[in-house]
């Protein structure tokens, strides 16, 4: 039976019976919005949708990169939807969200990498009527384009996040079109532009990285001024993606949390089902 034999007992999720799940799905559909929850086939989807939270995937559902872990469709994306920022505002209002995570596919085809759409979305959410929302952006590396990074940071999100995803040794296999140092530099530069900005990054465990390699990445992120670090188990979305090399135990995740706190990170989220934006609004 698929995946059953090799999957440890701690990697089991409960499906929550909640009418809020249907409501969230209906709102997303009504406004034509994509979520990374659905595109990445996230196992936390029941928890998040039942609490009426979602991580919006802007700039379409087609990515120009070819990361081997990711289930998001790859290919040539369509033009950006100019109404998307407003649709997100409307969905956020209807769902009554207090914390919004905005991420995107990587748009290497666009001159600004899609930074302008991030800025428009942040601005639209800040101008939203009613209760203020906390805005977290999870951005691509914009190929290291400083203007793009400056634009997004300048729009003043509450949290600026960019996932380093894995250790440098595994970049060629996991993120072939990305560069470890470029990603680290994006986080460092964001902090340099705006020292009081909360910055965040995350790693997926289970690709074959060693503990010392992860600790070294954590130290690098801390040196780049990163405030929040997340680490969770990589789960293969389908047989089309790279296989899980190892299931990291809950105790090992606790170990990473302890190490991170000792390093001085403001916050560490570490556990098998931790995803970079999972339950952020609750913490």
């Amino acid at each position: 039976m698929r995946g059953l034999e090799q999957r440890p007992a701690w990697l089991k999720k409960s499906i929550i019976n909640s009418p809020a799940i249907g409501t969230t799905m209906a709102v997303l559909k009504e406004y034509g919005l994509n979520t990374v929850c659905q595109s990445a086939r996230c196992p936390n989807i029941f928890d998040c949708f039942s609490r009426k939270t979602a991580t919006f995937l802007i700039l379409g559902n087609t990515c120009t990169r070819n990361c081997s872990f990711c289930a998001v469709k790859k290919g040539r994306p369509a033009n950006a939807d100019v109404d998307e920022p407003q649709h997100i505002v409307e969905a956020v209002s209807v769902l009554g969200l207090s914390h919004v995570v905005i991420t995107s596919v990587t748009r290497d085809d666009l001159p600004d990498g899609g930074a302008g759409q991030f800025v428009k979305t942040i601005e639209a959410l800040k101008n939203k009527k009613g209760d203020a929302v906390e805005i977290e952006v999870l951005v691509p590396d914009f190929k290291g384009d400083r203007e793009a990074l400056e634009a997004v940071v300048g729009a003043s999100p509450d949290i600026f996040s960019h996932n380093i995803e894995t250790v440098p040794r595994l970049y060629r296999a996991i993120r072939p079109q990305a560069d470890y140092n470029r990603s680290l530099e994006a986080l460092r530069f964001a902090k340099e532009i705006k020292p009081d900005l909360c910055t965040k990054s995350g790693v997926m465990a289970g690709f074959g990285e060693t503990k010392s390699e992860v600790v070294s990445v954590m130290a690098g992120l801390k040196a780049a001024g990163c405030d929040i670090f997340t680490i969770g188990q990589y789960l293969r979305p389908s047989t089309e993606q790279i296989a899980v090399e190892r299931f990291v135990t809950p105790d090992e995740f606790l170990g990473f949390k302890k190490i991170g706190l000792e390093m001085g990170f403001e916050k560490i989220e570490s556990g098998p089902f931790v995803r970079s934006s999972y339950r952020e609004a609750k913490t």
Binding site: M1, G3, K12, N17, I21, I45, F46
Partner: protein
């Protein structure tokens, strides 16, 4: 009677496999007790019973692939 169906996740996951039933027809189940385990390519999910009652039917045998909206079980929530 309450029908328990495979939830629509909108995730593009083509199907899940029924890996284990925790109850058989005739058993009494409590609300929120795990009724059946589903395995997708990415994760393992427990489907809790939405109501307390008697299991009338487990519609899908273990090892079969189900899709969103498929009937999994029928629970009779009337007092026995």
């Amino acid at each position: 009677m309450t029908e328990v169906k495979v939830p629509d996740l909108g995730t593009g996951v083509e199907g899940a496999t029924v890996s284990m039933w925790h109850y058989t027809p005739g058993d009494t189940v409590k609300q929120d007790d795990n009724l059946v385990e589903l395995v997708t390519d990415k994760a393992t999910f427990e489907v809790p019973s939405p109501v307390s009652g008697k299991v009338i039917e487990t519609a899908i045998p273990e090892g079969s692939v189900v899709r969103a909206g498929d009937l999994l079980a029928i629970i009779d929530e009337r007092p026995q």
